[in-house]
Every structure is written in structure tokens, then in C-alpha cells.
């Protein structure tokens, strides 16, 4: 039995509610590791400060991609472990699950990585991530005042994202 110490005590991860948000946290990185966007809707536990947290997340994804490319049983061109892969090259993972959360990952051909952390019983979120990428293209990439490679500060993107995330089951 785990005690959270907060006002809402629950022994299992929060189940999706009709009114609340279904995702816990979202990250977006560009190909250089700059964290373009970070949004949390439900995060009771923060073990590290934000910069370390972003770096750790990026590092984890980089290493996991390297691992999946190496472990790929289809035997296509295999690089050595740790060699940086181009986006889309080699087998890449799309999600992993632990007992407390599920992390879904998508990388665009331009190297934009979208990560969504949700409760562990979530289904396949690949289509959802593709939709979020299209929101990014619409409200951020097409924004003439947005400077690529810098953190995203677009209200329209935030509101549309919140609306969409609410509807993910």
C-alpha cells in the first residue's frame, strides 16, 4: 500500500475521469535535445529539478532507441551500440509500460520527439501522437513569430492541446 501524503490518497494510478485530463505529463524535444515543450497535468512526484529531468528523459530516449535498433530481430543493417541514429533509421520503439505509467513516443522525420506519459492501462497512442504533431505543425511551425529551436510559447497550441488530451481515453 502506498501513501501519497496529498489530499487525494489512492493506492492505484488515477483512472481516467470524464472531466479531468487523462495524461500525466507531456514533453517535446527537438533533434538537438532542447526541450521545446513541457506540460504536466497530473504529477504528484517530482524527483529532480526540471533541467535534470528533461536531460534524463532525452538521454533515456536516446539510449532506448539505440538499444531497440541493436536488438531488432529482423537483422537489417546494424550499427554498433551508441552510434547516433537518424530519425526513422533502424527499428524504433513506440511505447513502454511500467507498473505506474505508460510512456508513448513518436519521432518525426525532422527529429521532433513527442512524449506522452499516461496511466498504465492506456491503449496504443500512436494516432494521438500523430495528431499532436499535426497540432504542432499548425500552431507552432506555421507561426511566423516562432523561432525554431526555442521553447514553444503559443497560447493556441496550449489550448488546443489541452482540449485534445482531455478526449484521449
Amino acid at each position: 500500500m502506498q501513501f501519497f501524503g496529498g489530499s487525494d490518497v489512492s493506492p492505484s494510478p488515477p483512472a481516467p475521469t470524464a472531466g479531468g485530463h487523462n495524461a500525466n505529463v507531456m514533453y517535446m524535444f527537438n533533434r538537438n535535445g532542447v526541450c521545446l515543450f513541457y506540460r504536466e497535468w497530473n504529477r504528484p512526484l517530482r524527483t529532480l529539478n526540471p533541467q535534470q529531468d528533461h536531460k534524463l528523459m532525452f538521454g533515456l530516449l536516446f539510449s532506448l532507441k539505440s538499444l531497440t535498433a541493436k536488438m531488432d530481430p529482423t537483422g537489417a543493417d546494424k550499427r554498433n551500440l551508441g552510434v547516433p541514429q537518424l530519425p526513422g533509421q533502424g527499428c524504433s520503439f513506440h511505447s513502454f509500460r511500467t507498473n505506474t505509467y505508460k510512456l508513448s513516443f513518436m519521432e518525426s522525420p525532422s527529429g521532433i520527439k513527442i512524449i506522452l506519459v499516461t496511466h498504465p492501462r492506456t491503449g496504443d497512442l500512436r494516432e494521438a501522437l500523430k495528431y499532436i504533431y499535426s497540432l504542432y505543425v499548425e500552431y507552432v511551425a506555421k507561426n511566423p513569430l516562432y523561432d525554431p529551436g526555442t521553447p514553444i510559447r503559443c497560447d493556441l497550441f496550449n489550448t488546443n492541446l489541452d482540449l485534445y488530451v482531455r478526449s484521449i481515453s
Binding site: 531497440t68 527499428c91 506519459v117
Partner: protein, 114 residues
């Protein structure tokens, strides 16, 4: 994949497992249990002592957790109870290999009927 590569992959996996616990948004995370990639799934089981067993399977294979528990039992029987086995060394126990292939075959037959 030769032994050196296996060792590298295993140690990489160990670190990733630990980092994933750090990044959990809620308390009580015990590490990655399932990793889904394009061409394979990786199922991981962690024992109470921290020893991790992982299995690479086709995407969408069910009941790998049961197989992993069986493998854990085989490990305790044929490896840990072997008086000549040194802890933390690579496992070279014939009986373990034999029973492992039998368990995987049985599992395959049960699942696919071939």
C-alpha cells in the same frame, strides 16, 4: 550478436530500467515491464533481488509474464542451486539451457499450435 554485445545491451538495459523508475510521475514505480517497438516486444521481469529477465518476442504476444516466471523458477533450480556456479558470472549450466529450450518450445506449441 556476440557476447560482448550481449553484455553491453544487458548493462544498458539495467541503467534504462533504473532511469525509468526515476522519471515516474507517481510513487512506487518498479521499472519497465514492457517495451513495444516496431518489429518486436520486450518483456521484462524483475525478481525481488533485482535480477532482471527479459524476453524479446513478436509484437502482441500474450502471456510472456507467465513464461518469465517459469524461466525464473528454472534459474533458481538449475543455476542458483548449482554448487559450481559463481554468482554474477555468465551462466554456463547445461541443464539450465536444456530446460530453457524445452520451456520455450512448450510455450510456442501451446500458443501457436506448432
Amino acid at each position: 550478436m556476440d557476447t560482448n554485445d550481449s553484455l553491453r545491451v544487458a548493462s544498458l538495459w539495467h541503467s534504462m530500467h533504473a532511469i525509468s523508475q526515476q522519471l515516474s510521475p507517481t510513487v512506487g514505480c518498479s521499472g519497465i515491464e514492457l517495451l513495444e517497438a516496431d518489429t518486436f516486444d520486450l518483456h521484462c521481469f524483475q525478481s525481488l533481488t533485482g535480477t532482471k529477465f527479459f524476453v524479446v518476442s513478436e509484437p502482441g504476444t500474450q502471456h510472456m509474464e507467465a513464461l518469465l516466471k517459469v524461466i525464473y523458477e528454472l534459474y533458481t533450480d538449475y543455476v542458483l542451486k548449482n554448487p559450481f556456479y559463481e554468482m554474477e558470472m555468465p551462466i554456463r549450466c547445461e541443464l539450465f539451457d536444456l530446460n530453457l529450450s524445452q520451456a520455450v518450445q512448450k510455450d510456442r506449441v501451446a500458443l501457436l499450435g506448432r
